[in-house]
């Protein structure tokens, strides 16, 4: 049809004012593009549908009170306990360790890139740091298990377990540095020059300008970057699955813990038939994870809108 319309035009040498074929083609193309855009909405519906469907099946067999209050997780045994808080604890512990690394290092790096580095250095350093975010997480898992854990055992913690929350958390922190540095740096860089010059005019030094004027002025962006980092850490899978182990317990940083994501991987690595309780369990855990990351996204969105400082 398209070819036909074009042929007529070239043969006649005149532009056809109203062509039915042309009109039809326009509408058809618009419908196709619109359909593409709605695939993303379908994806969200698909996620919510699948999670809710299987989670409802799970709660038919396990009470929601047990799921949220029990302090034991032994889902792979017959008559096992389903206290998801044990897995949530594993996730929170590794996330906390990761943020203890990523928050100070990422924020200080952002201050360096925005306030101290020359624009040439900045152009080189920013993409170089972002390479850290592009390394596949299975590679970080390998690094945590075969390099960081032996290093910690030989130096500071001789009785650290082979699988432990500490090295998984530390390496996860390294992975999250670019997320925090990059997003914070954008908001630090956006603080208008006049604020810095005002502070210099009052006799402040460079450090005082950076820490007392620029950082507070960019606070909403910094908080957003931290929440984004936390949400990355909570959803991170392969580092913790490889290096933190598969033992669901309230362990310390030197001991093995199991995160929500690591549990899903553990079950999915084996063969699990559809419709069994174990199959439904990974969806119930996935639902918990999805709700937590969704809440974090909403907090970040709300915080940025509520506390954004706007300057002319």
């Amino acid at each position: 049809m398209a070819v036909e319309a074009r042929d007529v035009r070239s043969e006649a040498g005149v532009w056809r004012r109203e062509s039915r074929a042309r009109h039809f083609r326009e509408r058809a193309i618009k419908v196709v593009f619109t359909a593409c855009a709605y695939v993303s909405v379908l994806t969200t519906f698909g996620i919510v549908f699948v999670l809710i469907f299987e989670t409802v099946g799970f709660f038919r067999q396990v009470s929601i009170v047990e799921f949220l209050t029990s302090t034991q997780w032994s889902a792979s045994f017959a008559n096992g306990e389903f206290g998801v808080m044990v897995l949530v604890y594993g996730t929170l512990l590794t996330t906390l360790i990761a943020m203890l690394v990523a928050l100070p290092v990422g924020l200080l790096a952002a201050i360096f890139l925005s306030e101290y580095a020359s624009s040439r250095l900045r152009r080189w350093l920013k993409p170089a740091l972002e390479v850290l975010a592009g390394v596949p997480t299975i590679v970080y898992g390998y690094f945590a298990l075969t390099f960081v854990t032996p290093l910690l055992r030989d130096t500071i913690f001789p009785n650290i377990q082979i699988f432990n929350a500490l090295s998984a958390g530390l390496v996860m922190g390294i992975m999250i540095i670019p997320t925090i540095a990059s997003v914070s740096e954008d908001s630090l860089y956006a603080v208008p020059r006049s604020l810095r010059e005002g502070a210099y005019a009052l006799g402040a030094t460079k450090r005082e300008v950076a820490t007392r004027v620029v950082v507070p002025a960019a606070l909403s962006g910094i908080v957003a970057s931290v929440v984004l980092g936390i949400s990355r850490a909570v959803g991170e899978t392969m580092i913790v699955a490889v290096a933190a182990g598969q033992l669901a317990q309230f362990g310390g940083p030197l001991e093995s813990v199991q995160t929500m994501t690591a549990y899903i991987v553990q079950v999915a690595s084996g063969d699990t038939a559809r419709g069994t309780l174990t199959y439904q369990t990974i969806f119930a855990v996935g639902m918990t994870l999805f709700v937590i990351t969704l809440l974090l996204n909403i907090i970040s969105y709300w915080f940025v809108r509520r506390f954004r400082e706007t300057y002319e």
Partner: protein, 305 residues
């Protein structure tokens, strides 16, 4: 006026930690400058240590037979042939599915969409999807593609894996393409309309060709993320041990990161350190290749403008 009184008034105005001594303040400045510099270097140093560590363990094991052999329980004869092929299949299928969808969605949002609540919902939804953990996409794929659509996809097949990865990277492709389209000045569109071209004629003849390099750069980066993804593929049932190479979209498969995970999980050091590291070297080589291609594309594009 004594020094003491100055200090006292400033204490009152500035808070208790203000120090009047300029030498102390400049000293702290130097410490702080060093601190922020070191913080920036930490990430890069760890990256360098990681690369050296992997190369040290993995490069000695690299050989042609490692690339062309099947995984094996005997470490010296184990290779990555079927999983490398699986990764390439996944890459091709994911690109075929996600690129048209992503570009189509971006064109709709930039060139057609008006400011209605439905379109705003689509936008918020895309930025939300970008924040969903990848393992959740795995659960989506397991529930929909592997189980619900089993008659069509054949269960845990290449096409199920590729569909899952496509949905995962779709937001990235859409965002990159939208940025490329937004960078085209409106004069191009108006010029086209003034000559009597329809919307699609303007898009097809001018906007898409102009946006293509930028969109491709973002797309290649997204695809290279898909090559390295492990968690969602484990959930949609990529096998950890295969004795045959995939031969079509409905075939069972495994992928390079899955094989690395399998080797890392073995207690014997020949697998856990040696073979896993060799697999990582190959994976990183593939990633460096694709990423350099993206960077090359971007530089070429930037020079043209």
């Amino acid at each position: 006026m004594t020094k003491g009184s100055t200090q006292a008034t400033q204490k009152g105005a500035q808070g208790p930690d203000f120090k009047t001594s300029t030498s102390v303040r400049y000293g702290l400045d130097r410490v702080f400058a060093a601190l922020v510099f070191v913080a920036t270097l930490i990430g890069l140093v760890v990256l360098a240590v990681l690369l050296v560590d992997v190369a040290k363990d993995g490069v000695p094991l690299l050989s042609w037979s490692f690339i062309t052999s099947f995984p094996s329980s005997i470490p010296t004869s184990a290779g990555i042939y079927p999983v490398l092929l699986g990764s390439l299949w996944l890459l091709a299928l994911t690109a075929l599915i996600s690129v048209p969808l992503g570009i189509g969605a971006a064109v709709y949002l930039e060139e057609y969409a008006t400011d209605t609540w439905l379109n705003r919902l689509v936008e918020v939804n895309i930025s939300n999807l970008a924040g969903v953990p990848s393992i959740i996409y795995g659960l989506l794929g397991l529930g929909i593609f592997v189980n619900l659509l089993r008659p069509i996809t054949g269960g845990p097949s290449l096409i199920s894996g590729a569909l899952t990865l496509s949905l995962l990277i779709l937001p990235v492709i859409i965002i990159a393409t939208r940025e490329a389209l937004r960078a085209i000045p409106d004069t191009v569109r108006e010029g086209g309309f003034a000559l009597g071209a329809t919307r699609w004629e303007v898009i097809g003849s001018h906007l898409l060709p102009m946006a293509l390099p930028g969109a491709l750069t973002g797309t290649i980066l997204a695809l290279s993320r898909a090559i390295g993804e492990t968690a969602p593929l484990i959930v949609v049932g990529a096998a950890t041990y295969l004795t045959f190479a995939p031969d079509g979209p409905l075939s069972r498969y495994s992928a390079l990161p899955i094989q690395i995970y399998y080797w890392v999980s073995q207690p014997q050091p020949e697998f856990q350190v040696g073979l896993a590291a060799a697999g990582i070297v190959v994976l990183m080589a593939v990633l460096i290749l694709t990423n350099s291609f993206a960077v090359w594309l971007r530089n070429r594009y930037q020079r043209r403008i």
